[in-house]
Amino acid sequence: MTAINVLRLERLVVGNLDEVNLDVAPGDIVCLSGASGSGKSRLLRAVADLESHGGEVWLAGRAQSTMPAHRWRRRVMLVPAESQWWSDRVGEHFPGGIEDDDLDALGFEREVMSWQVGRLSSGEKQRLALLRGISRRPSALLLDEPTANLDEAATRRVEAWLQAKIRGSGWPVLWVAHDKEQIARVAYRHLHIDGSRLLAQAVATWM
């Protein structure tokens, strides 16, 4: 048994996909692409144990099924494409607070914590959802189109911040993306869902 922070999908079966076997090493970003409805989001939900599935998922040598589900999800943090905000103010969703550096990096002032949730734009929600996810101190990240609602400049900013965070913290990451250029910029490996199969794609050689 190893304590290295590897995310391992072992004979994972969900939806129409064949068995998925995949190792994601600490600090690595594995991009997933595929047509809409191909099962990318369901695969992420199964890894987070929000969807019933066959097979097993391991993180740092501990099996998903041996851990209470909410503790697993706290460690293997899924950030959905459409985030939900249930309290009135942004800050109430950050019980553990947030580093000022991270706020700065995504272009927020400190006052954002006192903002009304109702006035957030979709782009602000998306960036805040990423901050909210990492504020829970996860050990691995599952990102479902983390830049879907962002313009080009904001996308680059979020990518750079995420890459630095991921490398610095040694998180294994599954990242669902549509944009080929984004995949080329961030992916260490790229898997494409084609029907029921998960096919490895070539990634930019400079990686």
Binding site: A48, D49, L50, E51, S52, P68, A69, H70, R71, R73, R74, R75, M77, L78, V79, P80, E82, S83, Q84, W86, R132, G133, R136
Partner: protein, 267 residues
């Protein structure tokens, strides 16, 4: 003082006035006369039958019959709880949870009230046991039905919020905490309103009945306060149990939201 005797022809007089009302709504084409008359007829038949049953029950004064009557009332109330929900739990869970919650709270509180507080002899004396249990079940039923309906419907509407909270690593109790509070509130609100309005806005039915039957208002008021409190206890604990069991049933052992356990909405 005795109650003034009421004969059937006097009731027929009241019934004829209901017919007049039905006639008026028919003339104005409001489409209410049919359901009005059917409901009036149901009142007569149901109350006449229950009158016969109670006469027999009071004459026999046997624990078995009282218990059987109580069981019948409980099962009918359980069916009502299930029928009043927009999206109920499938597979008999709505009936099971509702009935068990009402059984635990209504029966416990009624038996405690009879044995410890009022103390008739024998303790199951039907004149006390049946009306008390009836008021208890009727109100607990409303509370449990409202709370379960609010719980399942709000959980369905806020499913993405609940799931997002689960993704952030919240235990299921926390992820549905706000909705559980809402459900508790809607279950208890009718009783809280009734207590707040008692004597100011409305004269409670039981007290009015006792006063009509010749009880002194001071004693009738004491009984009414006792009944209000016991009903609140029954409704409160019943709603609590139903919300706890119902919300647990919305999640599986891996704390996933399982809305597939709810039936399709009914209109």
């Amino acid at each position: 003082m005795d109650v003034i005797e009421l004969s059937w022809w006097q009731l027929a007089l009241a019934a004829s006035m209901v017919f007049v009302l039905a006639g008026c709504t028919a003339v104005m084409r409001l489409g209410m006369s049919r359901s009005l008359l059917i409901a009036a007829l149901r009142t007569v038949v149901q109350l006449a039958l229950i009158g016969l049953v109670l006469e027999a029950l009071f004459a026999a004064e046997r624990l078995v019959w009282v218990a059987l009557m109580a069981l019948a009332m409980l099962l009918i109330a359980g069916r009502e709880v299930m029928a009043r929900q927009k999206r109920s739990l499938k597979g008999g869970w709505a009936f099971g949870i509702g009935t068990l919650a009402m059984f635990l709270s209504s029966f416990t509180v009624t038996i405690l009230t009879l044995t410890v507080i009022i103390g008739p002899d024998p303790w199951y004396r039907p004149q006390y046991a049946i009306p008390l249990l009836g008021m208890m079940l009727g109100n607990t039923m409303t509370g449990v039905a409202l709370a379960l309906d609010r719980l399942t419907d709000t959980a369905w509407q806020q499913r993405t919020v609940i799931e997002n909270r689960l993704m952030l690593g919240q235990p299921w109790q926390e992820a549905i905490g706000g909705i559980r509070r809402e459900a508790m509130r809607s279950g208890l609100m009718p009783m809280i309103n009734a207590m707040a309005a008692a004597g100011v806005v409305s004269l409670p039915g039981m007290m009015t009945g006792q006063i009509l039957a010749g009880t002194s208002p001071a004693l009738a008021v004491k009984y009414q306060i006792l009944v209000m409190f016991t009903i609140t206890l029954g409704t409160g604990f019943g709603t609590l149990a139903a919300v706890a069991a119902g919300s647990r049933r919305l999640f599986d052992s891996r704390e996933r939201l399982r809305l597939d356990r709810l039936s399709a909405p009914r209109e």
